[in-house]
């Protein structure tokens, strides 16, 4: 069985948290704003999409293709 330790330190207050992370006024305001609506809509859930897909959708771009059926640009380059 793995070992365990007992935590006795008190839960840090919000003020201690602000100090610990040197949270700027802007960041404090931003974090507070995240909790303005108590129950965020499910559609705002972070989807943990693959980064490439997230980046593509953020740019609104389209996927570049190699022009060779079934081959990505990098595969086409490797086999060229």
């Amino acid at each position: 069985m793995a070992h365990s330790v007992t935590i006795t330190t008190p839960m840090p207050t919000w003020e201690e948290t602000v100090e610990r992370y040197r949270l700027s006024k802007a960041d404090q305001k931003f974090v507070a704003s995240l909790f303005d609506d108590e129950k965020p809509r499910l559609s705002t859930a972070y989807a943990f999409k693959p980064l490439a897909a997230a980046s593509k959708s953020a740019k609104g771009g389209t996927k570049k293709t190699s022009g060779v059926a079934g081959k990505s640009i990098s595969r086409a380059r490797k086999t060229a």
Binding site: M1, A2, H3, S4, V5, T6, I7, T8, T9, P10, M11, P12, W14, T17, V18, R20, Y21, L23, D27, F30, V31, A32, L34, F35, P40, L42, T44, A45, Y46, F48, P50, L51, S55
Partner: protein, 205 residues
């Protein structure tokens, strides 16, 4: 190692985990779980670039009362040249040395996703039982709760309550990414906002 250890805080946990795309859920789980338990996660992503990075990593480990080393990504990174990841076991070695040779107390924990794999990949750890999280968010919460016990108000620190903090944070990540214009969750500003958002969410429960 230098003579004078940096100031250590009783609730700091050095988080030694892989920074990769497929680890994002567990990364958020570690942050929110530790914050929920009233602990203070620290990570190398907080360290600015530049010279003496290794010295800064050593200082960070020595400034932490505890450390968690996730060895669940031991496979080869397929990007050429294909190599195993040495950073996690290397930093585990630094933490063990800090615990054995340093003047401040330091407890370290090994987390893994597969039982008995660590005894094969790192046989020097024989006699140390890793915390097995099975690659799942709930598993990380369970094992954090096993590693760090709080005597008072056990219900407050149950996996179910820790999952509430996790969900409260994950529902707000999209906004954090928009605000910071970050390319990845593994950036210093995002890490800071994830930690503080988790604290706020944990207080709100």
């Amino acid at each position: 190692m230098r003579e004078k250890p940096p100031e250590s805080s009783e609730n700091t946990v050095f988080l030694n985990i892989p920074y990769d795309d497929s680890f994002r859920r567990l990364y958020v789980a570690y942050i929110t779980g530790l914050i929920h338990l009233g602990l203070d996660p620290r990570a190398t992503i907080e360290i600015p670039g530049g010279r003496n990075r290794l010295d800064k990593i050593i200082d960070l480990i020595r400034s932490c009362r505890f450390s968690i080393h996730d060895l669940s990504r031991v496979q080869l990174d397929r990007r050429p040249p294909a190599t195993p990841r040495f950073n996690m076991p290397f930093e585990l070695g630094l933490a063990v040395a800090s615990a054995k040779l340093g003047s401040s107390p330091h407890d370290w924990f090994v987390f893994e996703s597969i039982p008995r794999r660590a005894s094969k990949s790192l046989s020097d750890l024989s006699g140390t039982d890793p915390n097995i999280h099975n690659g799942r968010v709930e598993g990380v919460m369970r094992e954090l709760g096993n590693a760090f016990e709080r005597q008072s108000s056990r219900e407050r620190y149950s996996v179910a309550e820790m999952m509430k903090t996790y969900k409260a944070v994950s529902h707000r990540i999209e906004k954090i990414m928009e605000e910071t214009r970050a390319q990845s969750l593994f950036e210093a500003h995002v890490f800071k906002l994830l930690c503080t958002t988790a604290r706020k969410a944990s207080h709100a429960l």
